[in-house]
């Protein structure tokens, strides 16, 4: 195998899961479960191997040469267009793969964690209906996610972006008999689409302003001039802070807030927990929701030139981290706590990106993938053990009953809480430190405090979860209690591997000795010297910061211990004392209701109104109206015709009729009456002709007499 084999076959990495997805969705129903498992888990494993091979072959190259691109085919052929500012150009989109240090990290995380979760799902989903369908969707997701991170242009990234959204929709609604599940799927899809609309406009703007949608031309053979988006941005053609760049960056970020569940588009993620737990682990924790972080990092050259957009990202990230953490404090559903935790941790990542610490953001993305996947899989194991129970108020004292789950879960909790030397500590500390050292504005100091408080809350809510679930008294319902069992070996194996990763995963990124930073350096290099924060050496300040972080984390854990184990019942008392606040947070600040009443219901109202308008005005008044107007006109003209035009004719007729009345009376046409008249006439004639002489004759006679 030559030194380019895996690189040359990089296009195959997404194809393995696609092939098995197609197999499942077309013929899965007829396949035995074992075949489904082997095909689907195997294809992801092969993907993982190919990804590893490709990354190794890439890393063997010198640092400045670590970009590999392969164009598979021309997707949208060249179409002429007018760019803003540079006249006529050609738009085209390739189906091409880009492997650079950034996408290397992503494909390893996606295929690696993805493989472990697939493995876990074999056991977890064993008794569910639609086994083949589940794995088909899951494989389809892997294809989309790999397309997203490997795509060499914005449009292909968008393809993956929408693809993962679709799989998310399908998998959230996997139990489609439940209305809440299909509702949640639809909500996720539609909310994401709002973000996607922004993203799409960003793509339009980028392609008209930058002249291309390909990220870079580095790594392409036979290219002399580099005219990719990032090449253009790094070339100095644009000044920092140009409005068009800021607009572009903000539009992309709107897309990111949808996919990565940031304020204001975060509301779909807690509901997404309706999906099977491995889905929550893979899609709604480890991979898909980090797509926004990946995308912003991919476009970091743009963000570096748009300081206002950067600040927006930092503020939204910091606020989301804090806001979501507060909601995580009081939830009772084990998966919902983790969902809010995910939103909060994603907020950290965006905070990192916003302060220009792109490496730290991706670093946290990676460690988060390990420990959050572990947390979700662990919670799945708990739910499995308790026959589907998700309410933490009905758990407790599971530590010795499901030991592997409990111990690995604890490792992940320590990692997310930020206890050294576990993975989460290093990545989170890096973010805090980089936030604190940003000098440009005092906002960064505020953000630091917010992030620090959030770190404390993180430690608190995760250990609240640990204590309520694994320690204390058992509150498990009686008939569930008998069935408590540790998960199968195949389900525990991924937990163990992820636990190891959660412990050591942070080591490669320890600040200043960081392999990780060195590796990503070429991708996130400052566009111009001033933009990158001056690299500060290891100082006492940073060490002190670390101590503060550790102190806060330990404090959070202690507080959780005190409230939920030491003083049982205290939590309820506190909730009762601050009832208003508690209710507000418990009901997620009523944000779903607010969104419903502000947007959803108003849209429905508008739709109803327009529907009525369409029926009543456009069709009723416009079409039927003109129809009845036509009919009325025709009736009018009929009337006119009948009474005026024809009326005149009739009138003259009538006159003649009246005039002729006397004549007509006589002219009856009856022979008898004619005969009678004739008879009378004859009689009259007789009277006249005979009567008159007769009278004269009589008179003469009388006279003579």
């Amino acid at each position: 195998m030559d030194s380019r084999y895996f690189l040359e076959h990089i296009g195959w990495i997404p194809l393995f899961p696609l092939a098995s997805a197609a197999l499942m969705l077309l013929f899965g129903r007829r396949l035995p479960k074992a075949a489904v498992s082997v095909a689907c888990v195997g294809s992801v494993f092969v993907s993982f191997l190919y990804a590893t091979g490709a990354v190794i072959q890439l890393s063997a190259r010198p640092a400045e040469d670590r970009v590999f691109q392969k164009i598979l085919f021309e997707w949208i052929p060249a179409i002429p267009y007018h760019g803003a500012g540079f006249g006529l150009s050609q738009f085209s989109a390739d189906w091409g793969m880009l492997l650079d240090p950034l996408s290397s990290v992503m494909i390893l995380v996606v295929t690696g964690v993805g493989f472990l979760i697939h493995l876990y799902s074999v056991g977890y989903m064993a008794h569910e209906g639609g086994y083949y369908r589940f794995f088909g969707y899951l494989n389809l997701f892997m294809f989309s996610m790999l397309t997203l991170v490997l795509g060499n242009n914005l449009l292909l990234l968008f393809v993956g972006w929408e693809g993962v959204g679709l799989c998310s929709y399908l998998l959230i609604g996997f139990f489609f008999l439940k209305k809440s599940a299909s509702d949640a799927g639809k909500k996720a899809f539609v909310v994401n689409r709002v973000g996607d609309a922004g993203f799409l406009l960003g793509i339009f703007l980028a392609s008209t302003v930058l002249g291309t949608i390909r990220f870079t031309d580095h790594g392409l053979e036979g290219v002399s001039k580099f005219a990719g988006m990032i090449d253009v941005l790094r070339s100095g053609a644009f000044h920092s802070g140009e409005a068009v760049l800021t607009a572009m960056a903000i539009l992309f970020f709107i897309g990111a807030t949808g996919k990565s569940a940031q304020i204001p588009l975060y509301t779909w993620l807690p509901d997404a927990m309706e999906g099977p737990t491995p889905v929550s682990a893979l899609i709604h924790a480890a991979t898909m929701v980090t797509a926004g972080v990946y995308m912003v990092t991919r476009m970091n050259a743009l963000y570096q030139l748009a300081p206002d957009a950067m600040l927006t990202v930092a503020v939204i990230g910091g606020l989301t981290a804090f806001y979501a953490a507060t909601m995580g404090l009081v939830q009772n559903d084990i998966k919902r706590v983790l969902a809010y935790s995910t939103i909060s941790q994603l907020g950290y990542m965006f905070l990192a990106l916003g302060v220009g610490a792109f490496t730290a953001g991706i670093f946290h993305l990676m460690t988060h993938a390990f420990f959050k996947a572990l947390l979700f899989l662990g919670s799945g194991s708990v739910i499995h053990a308790l026959s589907g129970e998700q309410d933490m108020q009905k758990m407790g004292a599971l530590w010795s009953k499901i030991p592997t789950t409990a111990r690995t879960f604890l490792v992940a909790s320590l990692a997310i809480a930020g206890i050294p030397p576990l993975a989460g500590f290093f990545s989170k500390d890096e973010i805090l430190w980089r936030t604190f050292t940003r000098e440009e504005s005092s906002i960064y100091k505020v953000l630091y405090v917010v992030a620090l408080v959030t770190a404390g809350m993180t430690a608190f809510y995760i250990f609240r979860l640990v204590f309520l679930t694994f320690f204390g008294k058992s509150r498990v319902e009686h008939d569930v209690e008998h069935h408590i069992h540790e998960s199968t070996h195949w389900m525990c194996l991924p937990l163990r591997i992820l636990a190891v990763l959660s412990i050591v995963g942070g080591m490669i990124g320890i600040s200043h000795f960081s392999l990780f930073e060195f590796w990503l350096e070429p991708v996130v290099a400052p566009v111009h010297a001033a933009a990158g924060a001056a690299e500060v050496g290891w100082t006492m300040g940073e060490a002190g910061m670390m101590l503060i972080s550790v102190f806060v984390a330990v404090g959070g854990i202690w507080l959780a211990y005190y409230i939920y184990l030491e003083r049982e019942g205290l939590a309820d008392q506190l909730a009762a004392r601050w009832k208003g606040l508690y209710e507000l947070v418990f009901h997620k600040y009523y944000m779903d209701e607010v969104y419903d009443s502000l947007f959803v219901n108003r849209t429905v109202d508008l739709a109803t109104a327009l529907g009525d308008f369409d029926r009543g005005v456009v069709d009723g008044l416009g079409v039927d109206g003109s129809a009845s107007a036509t009919r009325m006109t025709s009736r009018l003209s009929m009337w006119w015709d009948r009474w005026i035009v024809d009326g005149l004719v009739n009138l003259s007729g009538t006159i003649v009729r009246f005039a002729s009345y006397p004549v007509r009376v006589l002219q009856t046409g009856l022979v008898q009456s004619y005969a009678l008249v004739i008879l009378f006439g004859i009689l009259l004639l007789l009277v006249v002709y005979l009567g008159v002489p007769a009278v004269g004759y009589l008179r003469a006679l009388l006279h003579w007499a």
């Binding site: 179409i79 008999l177 639809k186 539609v190 799409l200 406009l201």
Partner: protein
Amino acid sequence: MDVIRLLDTNLLSVIMFTPLAGAILLMFIPGRLANAHRWIANLFGFAGFLVSLPLIGSFRLGTPGFQFREEYDWIPSIGAKYSLGIDGLSFVLVLLTTALGAIAILSSWNAIQTRVKEFYILLLLLQTGMLGVFMSLDFFLFYVFWEVMLVPMYFLIGVWGSDRRLYAAIKFFLYTLVGSVVMLLAILRIYFGYMSEHAGVYTFNIQALLESTKTFDPSLQQWLFWGLFFAFAIKVPMFPFHTWLPDAHTEAPTAGSVILAGVLLKMGTYGFLRFSVPMLPEATRHYAWLMMVVSVIAIIYGALVCMMQKDMKRLIAYSSVSHMGFCTLGIFALTPMGLEGSILQQLNHGISTGALFLIVGVLYERRHTRLISEFGGLSTPMPNYATIYLIITLSSLGMPLLNGFIGEFLILRGTFEVTGFSGGHPANGKYFAAWAVAGIVLGAAYLLWLYQRVMFGRITNPANEKLPDLNVREFACLVPLVLAALWIGIYPAPVLQYLEEPANAIVQRVNPEYFSARAARVPAAGIVPALPDSGAGEHSDLPPAAPAR
């Protein structure tokens, strides 16, 4: 003349008259032999598709002007000729027509039980009429086909429709007729305009008229624009002339709806692309912004009205209003990308919406209702149906890797680049694109909601418990459409290559400075502006003396 030579010299006529031949044959078969009618109609429907396939092989890409020309004298005294020919635009629509026609005929096998003979005769006649519209190069011939096609559709709705079929049929007929009468006036004005310009030479030849109308003075062009506008806008239909569509769709039998949505509506956009825009460039530039406004209204309005529909067919009909809004938006953006996207989207709409009507038809055949509330939970008894329906839903809402996305993307991207400077009309495309994108969001909402209400959840209506899944015939109707949707989504280049030449030619006519305008600022990285290499704008050969082929 043997058949092979006929195919060689008169391919378009063969394609056009194959369905008519079928209809004539059916006339001589006694009506009681219903199955014989079904077989023969299907045979001719499929044959009509097969004879259109040679077009793919022999179409010369990138050649300006029309191909497969045929021209014979028809009514010499007024200069009307039997003149056929296609370019990339009509090529796409002709293939769509023949394919959808065959599918529509196949889909009617069980659905039509009364007056089978007459049904198939009318369907085949309709097919010939539509093909004639897309192939005519003579304005008079075009008008004849345009009108001829009304009659079979009127009867299809009026005789085989559901409850309010008479109302719908008359509405459809009258509405369309009103538009075409106004169009006739415009056609005559153009005809006489040409005659007075060319010292008494009279012709209805489109290419000849094209050269003449270009020089008409602006106010006359504007009058003519409106004259043509009503006919085409009603057909598309554009807001606010759309209300015949939901009625016609809802009442028509499945095959009628498929043809109506799939092909008939495209006659409107085809009219804009073939006549209004290239013939009246001045007026087009003048009114483009208004057309774009109306298009965006249609996109959003149609999508919103979809949400409150209770009848599946009505919902899909309104979604057509929204989707056709994208098509007209792309046309009047007057950019190559917008136009290519628009033509592609017309094809896509034919595929996706045609398939959606087939999908509703499947349910209607089983349950004889289209009310959304009658259904729910159909995924359980009908898994294959669920899969196909989902793919088509996704294609309709613009999911990448399915056809709708490419079309919508190109249209929006082509709209986005419109500025006050390019094209000379005052519209700023960014805002239009931004509003139209809202239509995509709403599209996801109403289509997924419909899908959820019909397919997801538990079965609540006992009548749905034992619904049979798709049968072989229904598969045969739907699978080709699904494959086409996937193909265009994944690899649209083969289709787009046909659209490049006509799109560029239209832009060249309407907006010639588009291809000549040059840069103010060239980014340092050096993006090389390149002119399209096709011979755009050489649409102008005057009436050729003899058929080109």
